[in-house]
């Protein structure tokens, strides 16, 4: 009765934070999954005219950018701007020069990220004057651009895909191997347990980076390798946790009752031990996912993981940290996404542990 009351107040608090963390995770997940298709930019498209643009909700180019760009371009053509009017989305531009102007110079404008294809106005154009309409290409960089002039929003979302995929898949690998290994060792006990846990310790003793380099040397650089390498290391902790849980659960009366009913070892493992160890397992899993995401960025940082132009949150943050003196947005946005995801996962794990802890697992 009293316990129920305590649980109830705790549960109410728990439910709120579970809802919030789940909402954050779902939002981040959906954004990363669908976002890259919805943004107008491709993650590897380089905008040479928009290097290190700050984040803003206003469309580019601004009047200032327009002026600078025009100045640069006309200088390159060796012409002067005699008149320049803006009509909404396009410019009416007249260039004059001492020497005759070849209309092919308009390609300079075409190549710019600021303008669309130019339309020559025949009536106003002669040998030394070139009049044309120049549509302004409106582009948005909500998160700004990076040092190569790539849209940070798209890159953050693409990076999220990679990071979340690595986090989930590698954790899943660790979960499957770890639970199977730990539960078997713990339940069977005796010499089998000793042998299986010694194997775990031997693998533990291998340095992680050594293992990754070894795998890369043998199999070449491959995206799948990240999962394998991280999964191969992270299942060890999972196996130990599950073994510990199994050791305590197998002494519970309900396991003895199942033995008295004549249930087989695999049935006991499947029906009794694993469900009752699920609390700590899930709690550890929610800690594992962020850990794996960080490990992935570490591996990528060393150049052994994800390769440019593909990216992950870890790489983006490393980039941002390197450029921290001037444009801070390079660091802030990926860090915000990673931080939110990790915090939500941790919160979820904590609530889970609290709930299952109270439930007796």
């Amino acid at each position: 009765m009293i316990e129920a009351a305590i649980n109830e107040t705790a549960a109410r608090k728990g439910r709120l934070s579970i809802t919030v963390s789940l909402a954050i995770l779902i939002l981040v997940g959906l954004a990363c999954l669908l976002g890259p298709w919805l943004t107008p930019h491709s993650y590897d498209r380089v905008y040479r005219d928009y290097v290190l643009v700050g984040p803003s909700l206003v469309a580019h180019p601004s009047a200032e950018e327009l002026d600078t760009s025009l100045a640069v371009l006309t200088r390159r053509i060796h012409a002067d701007t005699s008149s320049y009017e803006r009509h909404g989305g396009s410019l009416h531009l007249t260039l004059t020069s001492a020497k005759p102007i070849d209309p092919r110079v308009l390609r300079f404008f075409d190549h710019s990220d600021l303008f669309g294809p130019a339309q020559i106005i025949p009536g106003e154009t002669n040998e030394s004057t070139l009049a044309f309409d120049l549509p302004i290409r409106q582009t948005y960089f909500f998160f700004g651009t990076d040092a190569n002039g790539r849209d940070l929003l798209t890159r953050t979302l693409i990076a999220g895909r990679i990071s979340l995929a690595v986090g989930l898949l590698a954790s899943l690998v660790a979960l499957l191997i770890g639970v199977a290994w730990g539960a078997t060792a713990g339940y069977l006990g005796g010499r089998i347990d000793t042998l299986m846990m010694r194997i775990v310790e031997v693998v533990y003793a291998l340095p992680f980076i050594f293992l990754v380099i070894l795998l890369v040397v043998i199999f070449g650089r491959n995206f799948i390798l990240i999962f394998v390498a991280i999964g191969a290391v992270e299942w060890l902790d999972m196996a130990r946790i599950v073994r510990g849980q199994t050791l305590s659960i197998k002494r519970r009366d309900y396991v003895a009752a199942a033995e008295a009913l004549g249930a087989t070892s695999s049935a006991i493992l499947w029906r009794h031990i694993i469900p009752n160890a699920a609390g700590p397992i899930t709690a550890y899993l929610t800690v594992l996912v962020p850990r794996v995401i960080l490990l992935e960025s570490f591996v990528s940082f060393l150049g052994l993981g994800v390769q440019e132009p593909l990216t992950s949150w870890g790489i983006l943050i490393a980039d941002g940290a390197r450029n921290i003196q001037a444009p801070i947005h390079l660091l802030i946005f990926p860090a915000l996404f990673l931080g939110l995801t990790l915090a939500a996962l941790n919160q979820l794990g904590e609530n889970w542990r609290d709930r299952t802890g109270a439930g007796g697992a």
Partner: protein
């Protein structure tokens, strides 16, 4: 101060957990030197009331009302001032001494620490006084025991240490929260003797919390009976026992389960026979210490006839539970077991599997014996999945509903989880899980000792009815002689792994031959009015 003035006065104390009120306005007073008992079943709020007075409730709880101690309201006192009262003026002894004492500090030092804190004694003074106190609470060789750690002491000694610690500063009030519930009956009797003696010697007022009315009869001056957060009846001990007014009190007093009149058939065939059963555990030695062998069951022989009940009595650690499991071949044992003329001795786990449905087990703790992650339906039908795998889902559901009705539960419970049920309901589920396989032999390992008094009788009644309907044989393991009286045809008394006395239940309960059995019967008599009469007849 005159003796009749109250030392502690509870006035309209409420304890709430969120919207849940667990103590609903408790008022009573405790006079100087008076012993008052608060009796009630689990969840009645008796402990919560006391914890509220000492400010020991968890952060989720809120207490209102007032508890006056020397004109100061303990509920409104700041933590710092409360610390001067707790331990020094009002001390508490908890149910489980193992968790109330620090495992890393020698017990003498723990007691001394209390006195150094409250009485500002020097270390050597405190140490001397601690040894004195250990002597007072009846611990042999107190100067040597003072250096012992908690795990080196027996359960009874631990509780003695906890009591010594509580009385070390000569408190005005001692609160004892079920101090003997975790102990064996014979130890319990000795601890109660100690408490009675301390009461007269130290003259402190005492609040004794217990679920067992019979227990407090000997030394309580007044009794308050609590139920669901309310005091339903208060009065002097004599008054409560001679003329209980409230139905609930009467129910608590009608404690001992009655024997269902049943004449055991002498010509019934023998169902189970065990000869020379031994269970040995090997304790792994440390670096220097050699491996040690412990005989949990030592050359035990017994026989059980069809439709009858064999009671195994003994204190904790006597090997009775291990014996029960060895008979079911759940722990490795040497010796000879035959079941319905089949020799089970050589069978391994796989070979035993087809036989398992004939021999089942019901555990003591219905909270631990049901997997918290399975629905009742899954729990009850687990045996069917093993032994009758051809059954369809619908067939299994029908059998589960049938099994539930057999243990007098509503089939609507099938979709629930164990934590949604009460202790008695859970134990019924555990029984249903065993009964669904239609076994011939059921080992009942303390089937009622984790349950409230009012539920115990129902469960025993149910077990007796099932035995009659299905001609079941029981091996009933218990330390509670009243359970034995209700259930057993034969009784075997166990001590240190051996059966030291064996015979018909009536003989053992009325004329025990060995000293050990006599001790058990005498200790049980202290609690049980009916046993007391028996004992008087004996003397």
């Amino acid at each position: 101060m005159d003796k009749a003035s109250p030392v502690l006065a509870f006035k309209d104390v409420h304890v709430r957990y969120g919207g849940n009120e667990v103590v609903k306005g408790v008022s009573f007073t405790l006079a100087r030197g008076e012993v008052t008992a608060i009796a009630g079943e689990s969840g009645s709020g008796k402990t919560q009331t006391m914890l509220a007075a000492l400010g020991l409730l968890g952060p989720e709880a809120s207490a209102t009302g007032s508890v006056l101690f020397e004109d100061r309201n303990l509920l409104a006192l700041p933590e710092g001032e409360l610390n001067h009262i707790r331990g020094k003026r009002i001390a508490i002894v908890f149910q489980e001494p193992m968790s109330a004492l620090d495992p890393f500090v020698p017990v003498g030092k723990q007691i001394a620490a209390v006195m150094r804190r409250h009485e500002k004694l020097s270390p050597s003074q405190a140490k001397a006084r601690a040894i004195e106190l250990l002597d007072l609470v009846g611990i042999p060789e107190p100067d040597r025991r003072a250096c012992a750690y908690v795990h080196e002491l027996s359960g009874g000694q631990r509780q003695r240490v906890a009591i010594a610690m509580a009385v070390s500063c000569d408190p005005d009030v001692l609160i004892a929260d079920e101090p003997t519930t975790a102990l064996d009956v014979t130890v319990e009797a000795r601890i109660l003797d100690l408490i009675t003696e301390l009461k007269t010697r130290l003259g402190m007022a005492m609040v004794f919390i217990s679920h067992d009315l019979g227990l407090v009869r000997r030394f309580a001056d007044t009794i308050h009976v609590m139920r669901a957060g309310d005091i339903v009846e208060s009065g002097s001990t004599q008054q409560i026992f001679s003329t209980p007014a409230h139905d609930y009190t009467k129910m608590l007093l009608a404690a001992a389960p009655k024997r269902t009149s049943r004449v055991p058939r002498q010509d019934a065939p023998v169902l189970l026979e065990a000869r020379d059963l031994c269970v040995t555990y090997t304790l792994r030695g440390g670096l220097m210490s050699p491996r040690k062998e412990v005989r949990a069951v030592d050359h035990v022989s017994l026989a059980l006839k069809q439709g009858q009940t064999l009671g195994l009595v003994g204190e904790s650690g006597s090997g009775k539970s291990t014996l029960g499991r060895a008979i079911l071949k759940l722990v490795a044992a040497s010796g000879h077991i035959s079941f319905e003329d089949r020799d089970l001795t050589g069978l391994d786990r796989k070979a035993m599997r087809p036989l398992r449905h004939q021999m089942q087990l019901v555990f003591q703790d219905p909270f631990g014996s049901l997997s918290p992650r399975m629905t009742i339906s899954d729990i009850v039908t687990e045996g069917l999945r093993v032994h009758e795998p051809h059954l369809t889902r619908a067939n299994r559901a029908a059998r589960a509903a049938q099994a539930l009705s057999e243990v007098r539960l509503d089939a609507a419970l099938l979709q629930r989880f164990p934590h949604e049920l009460s202790g008695g309901q859970r134990q019924r589920i555990a029984i249903a899980r065993a009964m669904i396989l239609k076994p011939k032999l059921v080992v009942l390992d303390e089937p009622t000792s984790a349950l409230d008094r009012s539920v115990q009788a129902d469960i025993l009644d149910l077990l007796a009815a099932l035995q009659k309907d299905h001609n079941l044989s029981y091996i009933c393991i218990s330390h509670d002689l009243s359970v034995m009286r209700a259930m057993a045809d034969d009784i075997a008394v166990m001590k240190e792994g051996r059966i030291i006395e064996h015979g018909p239940a009536v003989e053992i309960l009325t004329a025990p031959k060995t000293l050990y059995a006599q001790g058990l019967v005498a200790a049980a008599a202290l609690k049980d009015p009916e046993n007391a009469r028996l004992l008087q007849l004996l003397q």
